[in-house]
């Protein structure tokens, strides 16, 4: 079967977004092929900033045939007693232009009917591709759409389209461009090229100086980075964003190493790193924890490295020169003197200015200082100064230095080291999986910052729904939970939220915020490998001690697969089921009649003591061990005791006891939620 090649040639895509555009194109194509019932063997996605393309191997030449069944008259109506077609059945056949061979009998419900089985032959692939391909491009979501007099909006103008199915061009039009077999190589080193077959794609582009396979390009970049690391005994300071940028910036990467002029190495290191990385221009390096004197850029094509190096060094010099100016300018004022000016920056119409935000963060910090036993004056100082660097030139020019710059300026202003560190760390984590704050004050300030970013929007009605989350509430919620779990913060988050709720405008109650965070906790547990049923078990009762929930989930997870846990879960399910709907917990041991009742009661008392001790020590594994000791007495209890007995007094007493037992379990986990094998 033939292969399909689609290449969409575009004017340079934003380097950061090129990979996502290509990925969406692939997904759109594949789901459309599936929907069109066009099977294929394998697909390969290629892209650079100037093109994205899909090679589909062994694509069916025709849609799969389908069979449609249409219900006709009931057999009793359609056939006479001799089994011949009645006029009603003939009419049914006529309506669909079918003949008697296409009829089958099928039972539906009580009755048997005549059905028409119609084979629908598939349409030829080429015909389907004509619509399918342009639609797959049109449906690519872009961060921003622009027009270029080309008939459809897209991220960047579309300038050529290759669509080859086997050796034939698929005659289609996209954004006013007719598809053909003509493409273009590298902007300066390449030449126009034509493909006679899809399989030639990668090799021909390579001859035209385009490494179109992103995996191969990534390998080229990695090799070049490693070579520099070895030659200069330094380590590349890459970030996820920088990597995406350099991978997306060139079709034929050409590594060029330059040197940072000595005079600029006196700038704070984060400034040098930010200036080099700005807009994905250069890769900085470190040696022994200090910034190294070299940087690496990837030129497009095969230019003269010596000439390009001079250009790069000049640019770096200019930008670091600016940074020196910014630094000097910012240092003319104390950070603290900028704080009142935060009243001039609107944070959100309903939530006020950044100054208002700072006041709320200070309130949260007050509560956190108490909950976490931290020096409240220092924490408040850090919270007060935390956002002031937003008004510095350096942060305006290098937004990624937010926080970091505040820390540097605070230290130079003579603030305490803990305060300066907390300011620097409070913007962490900067993204998914990125570094967390380390110092106690930094951790608390960062948590307060994230909580404000969750509570504020939710209170004014901006609870994220689906993919709609304009205030990044989900991201902040996830970060807050990461900090609590990974930094081991023991606090009642729900109490914190209730206490600070009155600082916020809006009508949503604290309850909405709590539920939102509770759901984020569920996601966080699952992300950390906690299985679904265990998450359900530990999340059965709302609890503001998120760390405790996480510890209970881990303790339970380590017991997975153990037979005694399965047995205990089964035993507990009986307790849980029988007490469902019962509300009165009290019981009188004197009313116990059976030996098994007294045995379970004693086991309960013993376990209760152990569970409470273990929970007070935050050692849920011990608590689980204590609960495991209840398995045998529970089983015996249900063997020997008839809970739902005739005597209402005895019945209530038994239920009341079992409910108390159930409550004991629920402090640790609702084991009845566990999925029991078999």
């Amino acid at each position: 079967m033939p292969a399909l090649l689609v290449e969409v040639g575009v004017e340079d895509l934003p380097a950061r977004e090129a990979a996502e555009i290509a990925q969406s194109f692939k997904e759109n194509m594949l789901s459309a092929l599936k929907e069109a019932r066009l099977p294929y063997r394998e697909v390969h996605l290629f892209w650079t900033l100037r093109r994205f393309s899909l090679l589909v191997e062994d694509l069916a030449e025709q849609q799969e045939e389908t069979i449609e069944e249409i219900r006709g008259p009931a057999v009793s109506v359609g056939l006479d007693p001799q089994g011949n077609l009645t006029p009603a059945a003939h009419g049914f056949l006529r309506r669909y232009g079918a003949s008697a061979e296409d009829l089958v009998r099928r039972v539906v419900g009580e009755k048997e009917y005549l059905f028409l089985r119609l084979k629908r032959p598939g349409r030829p692939t080429e015909e389907i591709l004509k619509e399918l391909i342009p639609q797959a491009v049109r449906l690519i979501p872009c961060s921003k759409y622009m027009r270029w007099n080309g008939g459809m909006p897209f991220l960047r103008p579309i300038r050529w389209v290759v669509a080859l199915f086997g050796e034939k061009v698929v005659p289609l039009e996209l954004a006013g461009v007719s598809a053909g077999r003509r493409s273009f190589g590298h902007r300066f080193l390449g030449h126009p090229l034509t493909f006679s077959r899809p399989e030639e794609y990668v090799a021909k582009l390579k001859e035209a100086h385009v490494i179109v396979d992103p995996k191969e390009r990534a390998e080229t970049l990695r090799r070049a980075i490693r070579a520099v690391e070895e030659e200069y005994q330094a380590k590349a300071a890459l970030s996820e964003d920088l990597w995406a940028m350099i991978l997306g910036q060139t079709e034929w990467p050409n590594p060029v190493v330059g040197r940072i002029p000595q005079e600029f190495l006196a700038l704070p290191e984060p400034v040098v790193v930010a200036a080099l990385r700005e807009e994905g221009k250069f890769v900085p390096f470190t040696r022994g924890g200090r910034i190294a004197e070299i940087f690496l850029g990837f030129a497009e094509g095969k230019g003269n490295p010596e000439i390009i190096r001079q250009g790069y060094e000049r640019v770096v010099g200019i930008r670091l020169g600016d940074a020196m100016d910014f630094f000097a300018q910012d240092r003319r004022r104390m950070l603290e003197s900028r704080v009142p000016e935060l009243k001039g920056i609107v944070y959100e119409a309903r939530l006020g200015t950044v100054w208002d935000r700072v006041q709320r963060i200070r309130t949260i910090c007050g509560v956190l200082a108490r909950e976490l036993s931290l020096p409240s004056e220092l924490l408040d100082r850090a919270a007060l100064l935390g956002k002031a660097d937003l008004l510095t030139v350096m942060v305006r020019e290098f937004p990624e230095l937010e926080g970091v710059m505040g820390g540097i300026y605070a230290r130079l202003d003579g603030e305490r080291a803990e305060v300066a560190e907390a300011i620097a760390e409070h913007v962490r984590p900067r993204g998914k999986g990125e570094e967390l704050p380390e110092t106690p004050l930094g951790i608390a300030l960062s948590l307060a910052d994230k909580l404000d970013g969750v509570i504020g929007p939710i209170c004014v009605g901006e609870l994220p729904t689906g993919s709609h989350d304009p205030y990044g509430v989900r991201r902040r919620g996830t970060a807050a939970i990461r900090i609590i779990l990974e930094k081991g913060l023991r606090l009642d988050l729900f109490r914190v939220i209730e206490e600070v709720r009155r600082e916020y405008p809006g009508a949503e109650p604290a309850e909405t915020v709590k539920e939102f965070l509770w759901n984020r906790l569920r996601a966080a547990l699952e992300e950390r490998g906690i299985s679904y049923d265990i998450a359900e078990a530990v999340l059965s009762q709302m609890d503001g001690d998120f760390l405790g929930v996480w510890e209970r989930a881990q303790a339970l997870q380590t017991l997975v697969g153990r037979k005694d846990l399965v047995d205990l879960a089964t035993a507990f399910s009986r307790v849980r089921n029988i007490t469902r709907g019962h509300a009165i917990e009290g019981f009188d041991p004197d009313l116990f009649q059976e030996e098994a009742e007294r045995k379970l009661w004693q086991a309960y008392l013993e376990a209760k003591k152990r569970v409470e001790e273990a929970m007070a020590e935050h050692c849920p594994a011990k608590a689980l061990e204590a609960l495991l000791s209840l398995k045998a007495p529970i089983d015996r209890y249900f063997d020997d005791v008839l809970v739902m007995c005739e005597d209402p007094k005895l019945r209530e007493n038994r239920l009341g006891f079992l409910l108390a037992l159930s409550r004991l379990f629920l402090q640790v986990a609702d084991l009845s939620r566990l999925v029991v094998p078999g």
Binding site: E17, N149, G280, F282, A299, E300, I307, G344, I345
Partner: protein, 287 residues
């Protein structure tokens, strides 16, 4: 390309050959060539339009007392408008660099994503900064809106940073060393002026009088608009824009106030665009 003026002449020649009308800078202070009426009004409405010109552009806040080799309160932009742009506009732009004697194969040329926006003009577009060996030398924009009006057709604006390109061509590190012509350097023409204007803008501007002037020109613009005099109204809008830039450089505007000044200029620009489209284009007498 030995001198600054040769650079200008080479661009004039190149774009004249592409059918551009070579027009002159506009005689009111402005922050960028985009503010020149040949661009602001030229890109509105359906009429095809191709112009090119040099625009001395004033950004008071960028002044560095003539002490920074590449930052100035006044720099020179070379501005090209192509409406509608030809489909090979990127190639055409690259050919203009070759026309300056730059061998692109020897260098690193990148079209780096940079969507342009002017909050005071109510304008934005998608496009790039062009990096030549890492240095931004041109802003390349497909205009989507001007004065808050969606543009049909879309225009392309090319804005060359002449000082930067000249530094590159003359292999100098400081713009003040550039040769304007054989016997005159860029520094000899502009350095003292840079120093004086930096002193003026950062230290001396009377904030009170600048505010009064802003109010005055805003009122004049409104009055002109009420009379359907869109070109005089636009001149006053330009003066407002420059006065805002001046106040901003002087450090006279708190953040919220800054926003409100921007909004006032934008409102004027929008009214000019709408009046222009309604009165001038409809009457069939554009320009």
């Amino acid at each position: 390309m030995k001198t600054f003026q040769d650079l200008i002449l080479a661009l004039h020649r190149f774009w004249r050959n592409q059918g551009c009308a070579i027009v002159e800078p506009y005689d009111i202070e402005k922050g960028a060539g985009t503010f020149n009426p040949a661009t602001f009004f030229g890109v509105l409405g359906p009429r095809p339009w191709r112009v090119a010109y040099v625009e001395p552009s004033r950004r008071p806040a960028d002044g560095r007392y003539g002490e920074n080799p590449i930052r100035f309160g006044l720099h020179h932009q070379y501005q090209v408008i192509l409406k509608p742009p030809p489909p090979d506009i990127q190639e055409l732009y690259l050919r203009s660099l070759e026309a300056l004697g730059i061998n692109l194969r020897k260098h690193d040329v990148k079209f780096a994503h940079d969507d342009w926006e002017s909050p005071t003009l109510g304008a934005w577009g998608g496009g790039w900064q062009i990096w030549l060996d890492g240095m931004e030398i041109t802003q390349f924009t497909y205009f989507q809106q001007m004065g808050g009006v969606d543009l049909v057709p879309v225009s392309v604006e090319l804005t060359y940073g002449l000082e930067r390109i000249a530094l590159f061509l003359q292999r100098e590190d400081s713009a003040f060393q550039l040769r304007w012509t054989d016997w005159l350097t860029y520094g000899e023409i502009f350095r003292e002026r840079e120093r004086q204007f930096s002193i003026y803008h950062f230290e001396k501007v009377s904030v009170e009088r600048a505010r009064t002037l802003f109010d005055f020109h805003e009122a004049e613009a409104r009055e002109c608009l009420a009379q359907g005099l869109v070109y005089p109204a636009y001149d006053h809008t330009l003066r407002c824009s420059h006065l805002f830039n001046t106040l901003d450089a002087r450090g006279a505007l708190a953040t919220a106030e800054r926003e409100s000044y921007i909004a006032r200029v934008r409102a004027l620009a929008r009214a000019c665009a709408e009046t222009y489209l309604a009165e001038v284009v409809r009457a069939g007498t554009p320009g």
